[in-house]
Amino acid sequence: MAENSDNNAYWSANKRIIGISLVIWFICSFGFGILLRPMLAGIKIGGTDLGFWFAQQGSILVFLVLIFAYAARMNKLDKEHGVDE
């Protein structure tokens, strides 16, 4: 039973990390790249605005950071909960 409740705690922690990551994921692509682009129109970069940069380059860089951060965080979590391989 103890193992079960720890597994549940592990899963909740994992879901929380995923939740936070996906909020960042959404804001940097759908947000800055599409929905919030008009709000960023004032910030100029290389002949266009920051929203265009996020849509064509910035979002991709953020995705990269997110995946490696998630992988590192999960490796730590696996060890903390004793579920690593």
Partner: protein, 579 residues
Amino acid sequence: MDQFTLNLIVVGATFALYIGIAIWARAGSTSEFYAAGRGVHPVLNGMATGADWMSAASFISMAGIISFGGYDTSAYLMGWTGGYVLLAMLLAPYLRKFGKFTVPEFIGDRFYSQTARTVAVICLIVASITYVIGQMTGVGVAFSRFLEVDKTTGLLIGAAIVFFYAVIGGMKGITYTQVAQYVVLIIAYTIPAIFISLQLTGNPIPPLGLFSDHVGTGEPILATLNGLLQDLGFSEYTKQSDTTLNMFLFTVSLMIGTAGLPHVIVRFFTVPKVSDARSSAGWALVFIALLYLTAPAVAAMARVNLIDTFYPNGTKAEAVTLDAIQNDEALDWVRNWETTGLLAFDDKNGDGMIEYNASAENELTVNRDIITLANPEIANLPGWVIALVAAGGLAAALSTAAGLLMAIASAVSHDLIKSQINPSISEKGELTAARIAMAVAIVVATYLGLNPPGFAAQTVALAFGLAAASIFPALMMGIFSKRINNKGAVAGMVSGLVVTIVYIFLHKGWFFIAGTNSFTDADPLLLSIKSTSFGSIGALVNFAVAYVVSNATDEPPVEIQELVESIRIPRGAGAAVDH
């Protein structure tokens, strides 16, 4: 040496390399054929996933589409990379822990239902065949140009090579060949981009060049391009013309489609550990990002160069003369592409000039799929660069076509025949069935590729919509919910696939046969939602139906709930088992 001979030598040399590796690593047993014995390092696996992933759509087609669509087409860039975040967090580690060979196998076991498995096979085949049609379009473009034949002949030659190539090797052959293909394609994509970025902006790094100043005008290159386009009556490159709704839904569809495509998911079955599945997704995206960060630079710069070619003295002066197009050596490429039928010019008003603009008097049509391949020629780069790009385009198309054909073959032989029709089939019989399935898939895709429903990347986007609407929701709910049962999953997949495919057929013609459509993407059935974006709506339908039906029927048996708990925990992921 002329360009044609040079193309043949470079393309021939890269092919010899791939086929050599395929023969060297030729698959012996069924488990090697499907999943390469799971001994692949995350970095190499990431590189192979990159080659598998970046197809004719990314390499040949995408920059061209962006080049003509500007900001509106950013969905391709965000969508085809952002899906890896979903893969790494929502699917890959758990599917690796589950430890079987194919996606339908997971769906069949998790939803304790042969029907669910069969429905998953059908979803997988529909999405993969659509995807292969897009690849065939790209292969046709590449072969027609470098063999200097018309596009139909190019397509038929390409199909024959894909067939030979995919059928002799299995996954293992494909994994190592794909590493080689990645190297070829990324070099081929970046070298011309560096040359062109240097020419236009003086910056040797194309992604930075995109936001630098144009050496001619002294203004940022994007501002310069906006100006040129305005002069010719086109809409500005950085301006949004599409509706926000469609752009949003299109990006969603491409992202979740990425996470639902079986040939990408199976890649994560081949890593040794669950933690490797997470980092493999990251490595895959590193190698993919190298091309995806370069693509928008290629797109914008190609458009600048294209306009410069047709307005050598600026867009405010007179256009290029017909005489120059027919005789000028620097414009060889225009005549070469005209041979393929993918570029056409016609001096309609008889003024001896070829005018390119947004009006009805436009005299030049350029197929968007030729932009990446023609790019080094437009910029007058050396012959070896042109040959290299042809080789890279073919590497991209071949590697993905082969990966998809593998996914189709294993679905048919493993998930249909072995598990349901004839469980006592021998290993040899299973491999034969797999090869026959590949052959049939190639024939169907080639036939439909003769009159494709769109440019390569657009056809591929349809495939993503189908995967988004059918497979992704079933996988995600199977992992994140213990309550979704067999009936809910089947009803969800069927309704998601059906609404999406009907919407696509209504806009693109039934079974992609031209002329049988009732609507067009310019004036779609629902609001401003184009057929390429509908996968996200299909996915919503899938989630909703699965939820409602599951809650109205019995909850899954205890052993299934235990299975779900076990795949959520990394510990205990052994080697994959066949059954």
